[in-house]
Each structure stands twice: as structure tokens, then as C-alpha cells.
Amino acid sequence: MTNSAQSGIVFSSAMDSVLTELYQKSGAEKFGISQREFNVILEEIGRKYLATNTSEANARELYLSLRTEELALARACACGNENAWETFLIRYREKLYDIALHIAREASAARELADSLYADLYGTITRDGKRASKLASYTGRGSLEGWLRTVLAQEHVNRYRRQKRFVSLDEESEDGTQFAASDPEPVCVVDSRVENATDEALAGLPSEERFILASYYLDGRTLAEIARMLRVHESTISRKLEKLAKALRRQILSGLRRRGMTHRQAEEALEVDVRDLQVDIRRRLAQDSNSPSFPGKKVQARASDGPG
């Protein structure tokens, strides 16, 4: 019996045999990682993703779902194992630049993005005299290649947002916006009943449907892109969107009628221009993650321009 003190899981001998099997399968040995070190890595992952009093079955399920071979490679790289780095570079060097190019869509930006990630992966920053490699945070939940994609995408998004904060005057003059007058404050004609009825209808949506709506109507994603993200056919997304839009409209109208509006009034209220709506700009600004960072979020940007 192995007692995992940190995670609070007491492993039976059956679990020990699972860990041993995973160790053998991972090929961690050839990168100089011992069984004990490997178990520590797995416990660390278990601590991160499992509840404190989780059952052994859950732990077993999690561990068996890990990509142990790629986990061993990443952790060996993080420890500075040369063999591991050689394997990593053979497998992912070219791929990393391809992914960066796919994300940044421009060669020099892609190279810069990939190089910065290489630096993070190698661990140029030191903590307590040790290199802190980003690969040490890989937990094997998804493929290593997928993880690299995600990390690159996150880095790209962060860079884009950082750059947006420092728009030069030259760029503004190129855009012809340096002397642009601020938008006049729109007249606020707000009927709280419309907002309440809409919020009520949206609150009843399952998160996946809300995700589809947001992706299509807010982010401007195509049906094909959403379908790829959810791994369904785009006709499925199309049908869902059609149904959702109809159902939402119906529910809001019904909510408005419950709030004392006639059908005609409710129909008219739904057609009110978004600029006439009161938007809580303070909350918007506080929500940094929802700031207008990306092209295609015109609605969001416009909403943020409204009066506070």
C-alpha cells in the first residue's frame, strides 16, 4: 500500500501495479526518471485534478487517461535530460514553427512567437537557482503537440493584448483616429424588463448552447470553425443555431409579456438599437478577459464604448 500524503489518496497494491505499468509504458526510464520520481509526478497531477477525498477508481481513471510517454518526455526535458531534448527537438522543432505560423499568420511574428516559447520551454528564468521550464507544467491530460498549440495560442493572445495597450500615435494617425472626437453619449432609453427577460432566457441555456451562440454571434466564427471545435458536423451547428435563435426570441417575448408588455410592445422592444442600452462599463473594464482584444468583437467593443 502506498500512501500519497499530499493528495490524501491511499493506493492499494492494485494501484501500485497500475503505476508500475504506466512507468514501464512511458519509457521514462530511458530518460533517467526513476519509478519513484515518476510516481511523484503522477501524485502531483492527481493533487491538481482530483478532489481531496476522491476514490481510487477515479484516480486510476485519471492516471490511465494520461499520455504517460509524452509526460515522461516533457518532464525529462524540464529536468534538462539531453536525450529527451534530442527526441523533443526531432519531434516538435519543425512542428512548433508550423503551429506558430498557423497562429500568427506572418513569418517573422511566427518565428518570434516560437522562439519565445522555446525560451520558456528551455527555462531561461531561474527559480531558487533552478531553471524553470514551462514543460514542467505539462500534465499529460492532452497530447504534447496539442498542449504546445494551446500554449502558443495563449502566448499569442497575451501578446496581442499587450500590444493593443500601446498603440503608437503613428498608428493612430495612419488610422485617422488621433483627433477623433469621442462618441456622443447616446440617449439612454432602457427598459429593464427587456434586459431581465433576456438574462432570464440566456440563464436557462446549457453552457454548450451558450458557447455556440457566443462563438457565432460574438466572435464571428463560421459554422465550420465551431463544428471543428465541438467535433460535430457544421449542419448540426447550423440547425442548433437556428433553433436557439428562434427559441430565445420566443422565450424573451414570453418573458416580456409576463412583465406586462403586449405582444407588439415586446416585438418592438427587441428591435431597440444596442447603442441605446445601458451597459455597465465598470463591470466591463473589470472583466479584463472580456475586453475588446480581438477583431470580430465589434459588438463587444461597441458595447464598451457606451456610457458608464
Partner: protein, 402 residues
């Protein structure tokens, strides 16, 4: 697509619940690759529904579309795509029609040969043609025969015993279907059958007429062919009727004028029996085909096998968390390629699997395998997303990188 009211877009953009922290890269990756449990997936989905940044990250982290196109166009999963199914259905229909036509033609050829053999046999013994038959033939080919004396024409009505076989053949056709003299098919029973009595020996004129008839038949091969076709049409009708009225064809012919009639038509109908059994043979061969395992890779990268010709598919466990992208099958040998250069081989139709790690001159296969093609048990090649082609000449023992 229906447009959403603007108010809905605005409220959709304001998170209904506090976002909290963003999911880490591992969770987002696992979400994108569909390798997390339902509970965690629901949590991540809830975050994504409210977080535009994470939606953007998920979108950017999707594999390049070109790779997917290559995969879809080259992988076995492409067999299940709609255009392929559509064209496949058309092709299958064309094949069925052509097989039916060929079968029909084969039937016709069989009948034709039978009938021509019978006709040839009886022709050797013919001294006279039956009245209507010969007269119509002669009239069509030799108009001068119209002017024959009545006695000559009358003389033609006499049949030699040997000629009766042909007459009985006609009667056989007529009677074989179990219909009376008013039956449409009996219209063909125009061969006059004398009622008893000995037939006189062939006269000089008769011999001449016989020669003429032979000459006519030689000259009028097309008409003979058309005759055959007519008989075939009748035979087809007989077959159809025999099929439509099971057992009817086998009924004894009560009014048969000749003992051979039943036998002749019996032969004809019996001839159609194997064709009637044709579907049975097809079913057997279909059953054989459906027992051959079919392999595919599902859209979410799972290796699947069907033992019933594609009606149902079962997941073939190879290794956990491997996203398969291509499969190739030669006899019992199955090769399956996955993301990250993972290659597996089964020599026993998927019962046991061996991981293969191709390497050549220090280089390892690392790219996502998008196609595998084995021409036989030994020779095969695979291609990867990074444009590499790996070949093996010895069933995966050694590999060469192109």
C-alpha cells in the same frame, strides 16, 4: 441564419456568472482533444461560454485545416463522407443494372442455343414445313410462292412424324404454361398437327419444297434469329408466369396433344429454375462478403471494425488516448497510424497489436500519420503531416524515409 436581437448579443456578452481563473493549457488541450471526462468538460464548457479569450485560444489551437483535409481525403473515414456515399450509391446501382443485364443476356444466350439446337435437330428430319410457318416464311422471302397451286399449299399441311417434334415443341410452349388454346401464347401454336393417319412419303415437290425451305432458312438467318427472339420472349413470359404462379408451370398438361410437350416445356421451365435461384447464390456471396471485416477510423480518431459489412461498428482497443488517423488492411494484417507518429500492427485481424517505431538513419517517425498504404503483406508506405514518406519493403521490419 436567423439574426439575434441586439439585446441578446449584448446580454450574451456579459457573463452570467463570475469567470474565476482560466483553465490551464492542459485542460484546454484535453477539452479540444475530447480527452476529459464529462464533468470536467462541462466545467470547461461553462467557462468557454463566458470567456472570449479562452474561446479564441481554443480556436487558434485547432490543428491546421489543411491537415484535416489531407486526413479526410486520404483516410478510410472518407468512405463515410456524403459525396462518396452519393457516388458510391450511383456506382452500386450501375453495377446492379449491368449485372442484371448480363444475367438476362446469359439467359437469352442459353435459351437461344437450346432452341437453335432443337431446331437444327428437327430441321435435319424435316421434309415439309408446317403450313402457316413455311408459307409465311416463304411469302416474306419468296413472294412468288404466293402463286403456288392450292394443292401444293395443301400438301404442305402434311407433316412428317419427325416434323411433329417441332410441332409438339410449339404445342409444348403453348401447353406448358397451362393455358388453353385461347391463350395468347397459343397463338404461336400454329403448327398444324394432323389427326392421326399415316403421312404419305415425301413427293418430288415436297423434297423440292424441303430444299427450298432449307435454302430459305439459310438465306433468312435474321428472320430465324427474330424467330428465336420471339421464342425467347415467350420463354421469358413463361418464366415470368412460372415465377408469378408458383407450381403452375409444373402442373401436368391435361390437353397436351403430344407426350413430349410437357417434357419440352418442363425443360424450359427447369431451365429457368437456376436463374430463379440466382438471388440465393448472390445472398450466399453477400454473406461471404459481409463476414470480411471492414476497418475505419472514426472522426474522433477511434479505430473501428465492422463484421457485418458496415451495418454496425465496434471500437477496436489498441491503446488508450491514441488518436488514429489512418488504417490499411491486407488480408489479416492491419496497420493503424495515429497522431505523433504512433504506428501499430496486427497480424491477426486486430486481436493483438504491436507498436512499431519506424526509424531510419537516426531519424524517427514523429509526424502525425495521415495515410498508410500496403500493397501486399511486405510492401507499404505511410505519409505524415510534415510531408515525410516512410517505406517498408519487409512488413515493417525496416523503414526508409523519403
Amino acid at each position: 441564419m436567423l439574426d439575434l436581437p441586439k439585446i441578446v448579443r449584448v446580454r450574451l456578452n456579459s457573463p452570467s456568472n463570475p469567470l474565476g481563473g482560466h483553465p490551464d493549457a492542459d485542460l484546454l488541450t484535453a477539452f479540444a482533444e475530447h480527452s476529459i471526462g464529462d464533468c470536467e468538460r462541462a466545467q470547461v464548457m461553462q467557462h468557454l461560454a463566458n470567456c472570449g479569450d479562452c474561446r479564441e485560444v481554443i480556436r487558434l489551437a485547432q490543428p491546421q485545416i489543411e491537415n484535416l483535409i489531407v486526413r479526410h481525403s486520404s483516410g478510410p473515414i472518407a468512405w463515410l463522407s456524403w459525396p462518396v456515399l452519393r457516388w458510391g450509391t450511383l456506382a452500386a446501382f450501375a453495377v446492379i443494372v449491368s449485372v442484371a443485364l448480363l444475367t438476362k443476356r446469359h439467359e437469352k444466350a442459353n435459351l437461344e442455343s437450346r432452341i437453335s439446337t432443337q431446331v437444327a435437330r428437327s430441321d435435319q428430319q424435316i421434309t415439309k414445313l408446317p403450313e402457316t410457318k413455311l408459307s409465311s416464311t416463304l411469302e416474306s422471302k419468296h413472294p412468288e410462292s404466293k402463286n403456288m397451286p392450292a394443292s401444293r399449299t395443301a400438301g404442305k399441311t402434311a407433316l412428317q412424324p419427325s416434323r411433329r417434334s417441332q410441332a409438339s415443341y410449339g404445342a409444348g410452349i403453348a401447353g406448358g404454361v397451362g393455358s388453353g388454346p385461347k391463350n395468347k401464347l397459343t397463338g404461336r401454336a400454329v403448327f398444324a398437327i394432323p389427326s392421326g393417319g399415316k403421312s404419305p412419303p415425301p413427293s418430288l415437290f415436297e423434297r423440292k419444297a424441303d430444299r427450298e425451305q432449307k435454302q430459305v432458312e439459310k438465306d433468312s438467318a435474321p428472320s430465324a434469329a427474330s424467330e428465336t427472339v420471339t421464342v425467347e420472349a415467350e420463354a421469358a413470359q413463361i418464366t415470368d408466369m412460372a415465377e408469378a404462379i408458383p407450381g403452375k408451370a409444373k402442373e401436368p398438361q391435361p390437353k397436351s396433344q403430344n407426350g413430349t410437350a410437357g417434357g419440352t416445356i418442363g425443360g424450359l421451365v427447369a431451365n429457368s429454375v437456376p436463374h430463379a435461384n440466382q438471388p440465393g447464390r448472390e445472398q450466399m456471396s453477400l454473406a461471404k462478403i459481409t463476414t470480411i471485416p471492414r476497418w475505419t477510423v472514426s472522426s474522433d480518431g477511434v479505430l473501428q471494425r465492422s463484421l457485418d459489412g458496415g451495418a454496425t461498428w465496434e471500437t477496436v482497443p489498441v491503446e488508450k488516448n491514441v488518436i488514429f488517423r489512418a488504417v490499411s488492411v491486407v488480408a489479416d494484417s492491419v496497420w493503424a497510424g495515429a497522431a505523433g507518429g504512433a504506428l501499430y500492427h496486427s497480424a491477426d485481424t486486430g486481436r493483438s497489436w504491436t507498436g512499431i517505431h519506424p526509424s531510419a538513419k537516426g531519424a524517427m517517425l514523429t509526424g502525425d500519420i495521415v495515410t498508410i498504404e500496403f500493397t501486399d503483406l511486405q510492401h507499404g508506405h505511410l505519409t505524415t503531416t510534415n510531408g515525410e514518406t516512410w517505406l517498408t519493403p519487409d512488413g515493417g521490419q525496416t523503414w526508409q524515409k523519403k
